[in-house]
């Protein structure tokens, strides 16, 4: 197994990544579920939706673990890319009729119709940048962004310092390795020349 410190270092970065950044927001209680649909290939404006799924949705899921977030990816790039938001404004507990779908990579989990007392907002996100999708999402759901705690700020700064330090160290090491390689090549050249000279002298 990889050493404890190395593992912990990698984990700390990932934890900070998922806790903060674009998409780290708490949804109001009237949002019951989210459905996202786009194509597997990016042609025709499916890049933004995919990036939204990869970069923003994990953060949203972390801060709202109770909200089902279903992603349906299909093969057909001609189909529209949509983001469907389900709201329940009467304050009743979020009860979903039938079995709740799970995410699919074969296009079978299409957006279900809203159940009794639910309303939906459908956003057409084809061709939009993921930042723009997030902006619209935040406006429609009126979610509140999560603020960094002082300790997390400090950790972020530490990681940034470490990254800068790493860049410097990488340069130094590269210089050393290159010098070693050059030395080796020079030696190999000299040896081969010497061997050739010896052969010709005989």
């Amino acid at each position: 197994m990889v050493g404890v410190l190395r593992r912990m270092h990698a984990l700390r970065e990932k934890i900070l990544w998922i806790r903060h950044g674009p998409g780290a927001a708490v949804l109001p209680p009237n949002v019951t579920r989210i459905h996202l649909e786009f194509a597997k290939r990016i042609n025709g404006g499916h890049m933004g939706p995919r990036k939204f799924w990869q970069e923003n949705l994990p953060r949203l899921k972390f801060w709202n673990p109770q909200v089902p977030m279903i992603v349906n990816r299909c093969d057909d790039t001609e189909r529209p890319a949509t983001l469907t938001l389900y709201f329940r404004d009467d304050g009743a507990p979020a009860k979903i009729e039938g079995t709740q779908l799970s995410s699919a990579a074969d296009g079978t989990s299409t957006a279900p119709a809203p159940s009794q007392g639910e309303r939906t907002v459908v956003l057409d996100i084809k061709g939009l940048h993921s930042e723009k999708i997030l902006e619209e999402f935040m406006a429609k759901t009126s979610a509140t962004n999560v603020q960094l705690t002082p300790q997390e700020e400090m950790e972020l700064r530490e990681l940034e310092d470490l990254r800068k330090r790493g860049e410097i160290d990488r340069k130094v090491t590269k210089k050393m390795i290159d010098e070693k390689k050059r030395e080796k090549a020079r030696l190999a050249l000299a040896m081969s020349e010497a061997a050739a000279n010896k052969a010709s002298a005989l």
């Binding site: 197994m1 410190l5 593992r7 949705l57 994990p58 995410s103 699919a104 074969d106």
Partner: protein, 305 residues
């Protein structure tokens, strides 16, 4: 430095009778001093050889145990906390494509017996077990095998399909009647690398098909490799309680295996338990269950992804 001081001291002694003034030599930097001013001091040990003595090369230290690390500074997580992170990392992945897995690191010898066993989970993890049985074609045994849920049963036809590279199964059993045929069929090279070759020691050459197949369906195998046991313990849709139950069963069974090995005079102890998922990072567990952060409840982690 020492030699310079000694030199200065001796010069001072020489000058003692003439003057008590310190010589101006101390203002000159050490490296500018002429070499004659710093006579070499020879020691008894260096007088014989001249140059560095060659020490016999130390043999490289061989560690008997796998390395274990100091975990005092490691951040550890409760099961629900780890699952909250993992569920977030796995968001939008189809549930069939991602699983929770556990890595159990052991403090153990590099050479010696390994932990290896089959386990039946309270909540089955792998739903996909396809069994093939090697037995005489169209015999009552074949009929029984098919009835018990085997996908293929046969002898020559099965060998033929194996040689053609068609594997419609992921578990293979051989009936004792067909043992010789299996040996003659020369398929070990194809089956061995996939871990499918029937073997008496593993109980996959058997005369009691019913028992073997029942053991196989819904059981998972685990095995220690490089001091770590890794196995899938839950589907992505499992609730924290389901994962906890499965994990408990694994740990209890593994404890028994380890105790048996320790009784035989080997080292085998639990070092660390790590939970991860197919696409997520790994979280070292602290053995607790409940979420630690405010406003997160176990119920919230039970919803559909």
């Amino acid at each position: 430095m020492a030699s310079t001081n000694q030199c200065v001291a001796s010069m001072a002694r020489l000058n003692l009778s003439y003057s008590t003034r310190r010589p101006a030599i101390s203002t000159i930097p050490n490296f500018l001093l002429p070499s004659v001013a710093t006579p070499q001091i020879r020691h008894a040990s260096g007088s014989g050889g001249g140059g560095m003595r060659k020490r016999p090369e130390k043999p490289k230290k061989q560690y008997k145990l796998f390395r274990s690390y100091d975990q005092s500074e490691q951040q550890k997580f409760s099961l629900c906390d780890a699952m909250r992170y993992l569920r977030a990392f796995e968001v939008g992945k189809p549930p069939s494509g991602a699983k929770y897995e556990v890595h159990v690191k052991l403090r153990t010898e590099k050479a010696g017996p390994v932990v290896r066993n089959r386990i039946r989970f309270p909540y089955p993890v792998s739903s996909d077990t396809r069994i093939a049985v090697i037995c005489p074609e169209d015999s009552p045994v074949a009929a029984e095998a098919l009835q018990l849920g085997a996908v293929v049963a046969g002898q020559e036809s099965l060998f033929e399909s194996i040689k053609n590279g068609h594997f419609a199964f992921n578990k293979l059993i051989c009936h004792t009647e067909s043992e010789d045929a299996l040996k003659k069929a020369n398929v070990g090279k194809l089956l061995g690398p996939k871990g499918l070759m029937p073997n008496k020691r593993h109980g996959t050459i058997t005369s009691d098909l019913k028992k073997t197949i029942n053991d196989m369906v819904g059981t998972d195998e685990y095995r220690e490799r490089n001091g770590v046991v890794q196995l899938a313990i839950g589907q992505l849709g499992f609730t924290p309680q389901m994962v906890a139950d499965n994990l408990k069963v694994v740990m209890e069974r593994m404890k028994k295996d380890m105790d048996a090995i320790v009784d035989n005079g080997h080292t085998k102890h639990l070092d660390e338990v790590v939970l991860s998922s197919t696409h997520g990072p790994s979280f070292s567990l602290n053995g607790k269950f409940n979420p630690t952060e405010d406003n997160v409840t176990v119920e919230q982690l039970q919803s559909t992804m």
